[in-house]
């Protein structure tokens, strides 16, 4: 393929990075221009990624490299897995930008916000295209640094304190990942993602302990962002961020970089064979993920703050990805990889909705949601779709992932995982069904008596269009990827395509 095509990954990564710099130079008052630049860049990125995904499907490959330091390259590769995560990031970035424009309407420091917002997406695309662990590490660390200003955007004392906790967790995770990377480089001298070929070629029985140590070091490094127990503590605390940031943090940017890291480490650093058959790491990672799933759900049950409840739900849902990958069977892995997308779509919907409730009516507590289905029917309907998806009710996206995870668990002889999935669904139902029930079936709180209750306002005039359109589109996507799961180029289709390469089905 031509010269231009090899530069495509770099262009895709850099496009939003350059936009970030451009936005820095747009004055605070130029919100119209900023909106245009932001949305244009997001669309441009989606177009680039679509071209790449189409070519990759027909067997093209893209890679870009330059020498970083002795023996180690800066390598960007676009493989199917990278494309999946990059498209998810780019798409949700586009939608979240629209939401953020509406959410931050007439607030201060928008220039800083949008610049770092773009930077954050640059890093997340960078994470997805990384072709070796060193490049991955660079973008992984940059991601931490670029999200920090977003988390502490409000700037109050409490927020700064929480932001520091966030930084403490994620930076420590980064340090451990760096340690792991150095460890890997000293073992093999090459950190390229090779489907495990490099590591398994230098494997010998005497190195078994080192390999296991290397694995756990790397997993802890990415596990902080993937919110694996006991490294999940930052996630609920980072809830102090503005709604669009928490939405992006929970759906793609930070947590997904962690989950994506787990996928990369298992498939591309170690390889399924080394991971499952030689080192027998499968069951211990499955146990860790299962525990996190149940732990997050149980704690979520006790949260009365809507955003906190969603945060603990994220802790639980993220481990589905780890679970699917850890079971090391083709079907279970499809479930894990596709959940990367499905969880993103559903969780971003839920956070947008929580943001809308807080922004329009000032409702943040679960027990204040009674009867809001009357006042904000569209937002409530979208919340319902997202929440049902989290429980795994058909035909939403969550149902498809859970179906693959469960059947995969049986296929990989992890029958007890079925019990975990069922208990997790039950707990999810325990903390989401009451919310749906409150929204639609309970009487409106007396503090909203000033609103006209006789008629249901389906147009939701009080909610700004900028806040409503993103919610509707993500909710629709979360529903449609479930209903039309078998269409070509659906997330499920693409996940099967990725796993076909890995397992050579």
């Amino acid at each position: 393929m031509g010269f231009f095509f090899d530069y495509l990954p770099l262009i895709t990564v850099l496009s939003s990075g350059l936009i970030a710099i451009l936005i820095m130079f747009i004055p605070e008052s130029g919100s119209g221009l900023r909106t245009f630049v932001n949305l244009f860049a997001a669309l441009f990125k989606i177009v680039l990624l679509s071209i790449m995904s189409y070519s990759i499907y027909y067997g093209e490959s893209f890679s870009f490299r330059f020498k970083l330091f002795a023996g180690h390259d800066f390598l960007l590769v676009a493989d199917p897995l990278a494309i999946l995560f990059a498209i998810l990031s780019a798409l949700l970035w586009f939608i979240t930008t629209i939401y953020a424009i509406g959410y931050l309407n007439a607030s201060v420091d928008r220039r800083r916000f949008f610049a770092f917002f773009s930077l954050c997406v640059t890093c997340s695309i960078g994470v997805s295209f990384s072709g070796n662990l060193i490049t991955f590490l660079i973008f992984y660390e940059l991601l931490t640094l670029s999200t920090y200003p977003l988390v502490i955007h409000k700037g109050t004392d409490h927020v700064i304190r929480s932001g520091n906790i966030y930084l403490f967790y994620t930076l420590s995770g980064g340090v451990v990942l760096m340690l792991g990377t150095i460890f890997l480089a000293s073992l093999t001298g090459d950190t390229t993602f090779s489907g495990g070929e490099i590591l398994s070629s230098s494997y010998s029985e005497s190195l078994r302990g080192y390999y296991q140590l290397l694995f756990w070091t790397l997993i802890i490094g990415v596990g902080v962002k993937a919110a694996l127990f006991p490294f999940h503590g930052w996630l609920p605390i980072a809830m102090v961020a503005p709604a669009p940031v928490s939405a992006l943090l929970h759906a793609v940017a930070v947590v997904k970089a962690g989950a994506f890291g787990v996928i990369r480490i298992v498939y591309d650093v170690f390889g399924v064979k080394l991971f499952a058959d030689v080192l027998n790491l499968s069951s211990s990672l499955v146990i860790l993920a299962s525990f996190t799933i149940l732990y997050g759900s149980v704690i979520a049950l006790f949260q009365s703050d809507l955003k906190k409840r969603l945060a603990y739900s994220t802790v639980s849902q993220l481990s589905y990805i780890t679970l699917g990958v850890a079971m090391a069977g083709p079907i279970a892995s499809i479930g894990g990889v596709v959940h990367l997308v499905h969880q993103g779509l559903m969780k971003i919907t839920l956070f947008f909705c929580a943001g809308n409730f807080a922004e329009v009516l000032g409702v943040k507590k679960v027990d204040k949601l009674d009867g809001l289905g009357r006042l904000m029917p569209v937002t409530s309907a979208c919340f319902t779709i997202g929440a049902l998806g989290m429980i795994g009710v058909p035909p939403t996206a969550g149902f498809i992932s859970k179906w693959y995870l469960a059947t995969g668990a049986i296929e990989s002889h992890f029958q007890w995982v079925i019990l975990v999935l069922i208990m997790s669904s039950f707990l999810n139902a325990c903390y989401f069904i009451p919310i749906i029930y409150r929204l639609w079936f309970l009487k409106l709180d007396s503090c909203f008596e000033s609103y006209d209750q006789s008629r249901v306002d389906f147009t939701e005039k009080k909610t700004s269009r900028w806040l409503l359109i993103p919610v509707i589109s993500t909710a629709m996507l979360a529903l449609l990827v479930g209903v039309f799961a078998s269409l070509p180029f659906s997330p499920l289709y693409w996940a099967i395509f990725i796993l076909m390469e890995i397992y050579l089905l």
Binding site: F168, I299, L301, S486
Partner: protein, 512 residues
């Protein structure tokens, strides 16, 4: 007999949707079509003054859509998806009138629905993993020879038993029916409970699967439900609650018949159509009974006598009065069972016949309550016309399906006819004795027990809530603060974490 037609393949929907009909789903489809037609027609007039008419019709429409989709689906994923959505949406039917009782009923209902879904899911997962195909016809074969078929069978039975209202999971029926609007109750009782036998008949390949112990369990539970539901129903004061108990009891009979397919597999060829006939009979009669209950204060003049006559006949049809649908349904079931050569079939037939006594007791009790609350007015003539015309169409539908089955093995003994009269008279006597007791049992009987347990758990939860809400989570940072003397910048904490990791690494190396 075992023919099926697929008429729509939608590969891109869900995991590949395929719609069609076979000899089992066809009667269900006809029953659904009839009941939805009646309910929409009646509901249109019933809700004519209701400000929330649109909402009600929307919920009814959505339930109807998923109900029909469930009947038509030939693949497991669509079947399960439409079953689940139908159940969830039906909550809106129960809660429509918004009172305290309606809220309680809907909460009990939705909790049981969720538990049912979660019981069914693992069974489906086990089947799908083995078969690599989503078609129900393929899954039946896999199920027959599956190594965990006991477990799968139990899960499938338990999960769908909630829908059928098998004891002790029947509590939602008597709670939901009195609070739901009448068209909704008639759908719940006439149609939605039938989803359970539909699922069982579709998923179990009764002729070759060998699960006798599960069969005995199902028969025992089904017969117990049949007697228990009828007896508790005799002590109700609301007609709709009593009718709900009648549904519990009748579905108990159907459940027992399904169980007998497992115990007496040599009857399958005849008994499956017999069960379908029974379901059809109950669906038609129960829908008309619920709607008729709404009509009781909306007739006047000589219509009152006609109304009483027909309502009484409909009720007696449940207990198998000669020449009613119930009589045919019961006799066909019995003569299909007589074919069996397996020990114990006589006992089962006897127990099955005896349910007619308690059923009769219940129908006389219902008739008594129905007579008590009679106000005579001539309002709402449209509902009257809908109901009386359906009284003619319903039995016609039944007869048309009756003619489709193989009747060579079916014999009607004069003794059976006499027996049915004797049982009805016995039932009437029991009902009379019960009416002297002046005992009233609460709607949903043992639900009190469940609510007690749930309230205990909730109070425990609220005690814990105060502690956990205060960010009482496994917080690494808090732990480190207590472990080390650093309490300054985040960097020092980062380093202390680093130390912790190095420490654990050392321990690991030493230990291995």
């Amino acid at each position: 007999m075992n023919s099926s037609t697929t008429f729509l393949n939608l590969d891109f929907v869900l995991l590949g949707t395929s719609l069609g009909l076979n000899h089992i789903t066809l009667p269900f489809f006809l029953l659904s079509a009839f009941i939805w037609f009646v309910v929409f027609l009646y509901g249109h007039f019933y809700h004519s003054d209701d400000p929330n008419k649109f909402k009600m019709l929307a919920f009814l429409g959505a339930t109807c859509f998923f109900n029909l989709l469930m009947v038509l689906s030939e693949d497991l994923v669509t079947f399960y998806a439409s079953f689940t959505l139908m159940n969830f949406i039906a909550t809106g039917l129960i809660i429509h009138q918004q009172g305290k009782e309606a809220l309680k009923a809907s909460q009990v209902y939705i909790s049981l629905v969720i538990i049912g879904e979660l019981l069914v899911l693992p069974a489906l997962w086990f089947l799908v993993t083995e078969s690599q195909s989503y078609l129900i016809s393929d899954l039946r074969e896999v199920f027959t020879s599956h190594e965990h078929k006991q477990l799968i069978g139990l899960l499938l039975f338990g999960g769908f038993a909630i829908k059928a209202g098998v004891f002790p999971l029947h509590v939602w029926l008597p709670l939901a029916h009195p609070v739901a609007p009448t068209p909704a109750s008639s759908v719940l009782s006439g149609l939605l409970v039938k989803a359970a036998p539909l699922a069982w008949l579709q998923l179990f390949d009764f002729s070759s699967i060998s699960l006798p112990s599960l069969g005995y369990f199902i028969i025992a539970l089904g017969l117990f439900t049949a007697f228990y539901g009828a007896l508790v129903g005799c002590f109700q004061i609301a007609t709709k609650a009593a009718l709900a108990y009648s549904t519990v009891s009748q579905m108990g009979v159907v459940t027992a018949l399904v169980g007998s397919l497992l115990v007496f597999p040599d009857t399958v060829e005849l008994l499956v159509p017999a069960i379908l006939i029974y379901i059809l009979h109950h669906g038609i009669v129960k829908t008309l009974l619920f709607l008729g209950d709404d009509l009781k204060d909306k007739v006047h003049g000589y219509w009152v006598k006609l109304y009483h006559l027909i309502y009484g006949l409909l009720l007696l049809s449940l207990s198998g009065l000669f020449l009613t649908t119930g009589f045919f349904a019961k006799e066909i079931a019995k003569s299909s069972l007589y074919v069996s050569e397996i020990n114990g079939v006589d006992v089962f037939i006897m127990a099955f016949s005896l349910t007619s006594i308690t059923t009769s007791a219940l129908v006389f009790s219902i008739f008594r309550i129905n007579m008590q609350g009679l106000h005579i007015s001539s309002q709402y003539p449209e509902r009257k016309w809908v109901w009386f015309s359906m009284i003619i169409i319903g039995p016609l539908l039944f007869i048309s399906l009756l003619s489709a089955i193989d009747s060579s093995n079916i014999e009607f003994h004069f003794a059976n006819v006499m027996m049915s009269f004797v049982m009805i008279i016995l039932g009437a006597l029991i009902a009379y004795v019960f009416s002297l007791w002046r005992l009233v049992l609460p709607q949903g009987d043992i639900v009190i027990l469940y609510l007690f347990i749930v309230n205990k758990i909730l109070s425990l939860k609220s005690k814990l809530q105060i502690q956990i809400e205060r960010d009482y989570d496994f917080d690494l940072q808090e732990m480190l603060k207590n472990m080390t003397y650093y309490s300054g910048s985040s960097y020092s904490k980062a380093f202390s974490l680093f130390g912790l990791i190095i420490f654990s690494v050392l321990i690991y190396i030493i230990s291995s």
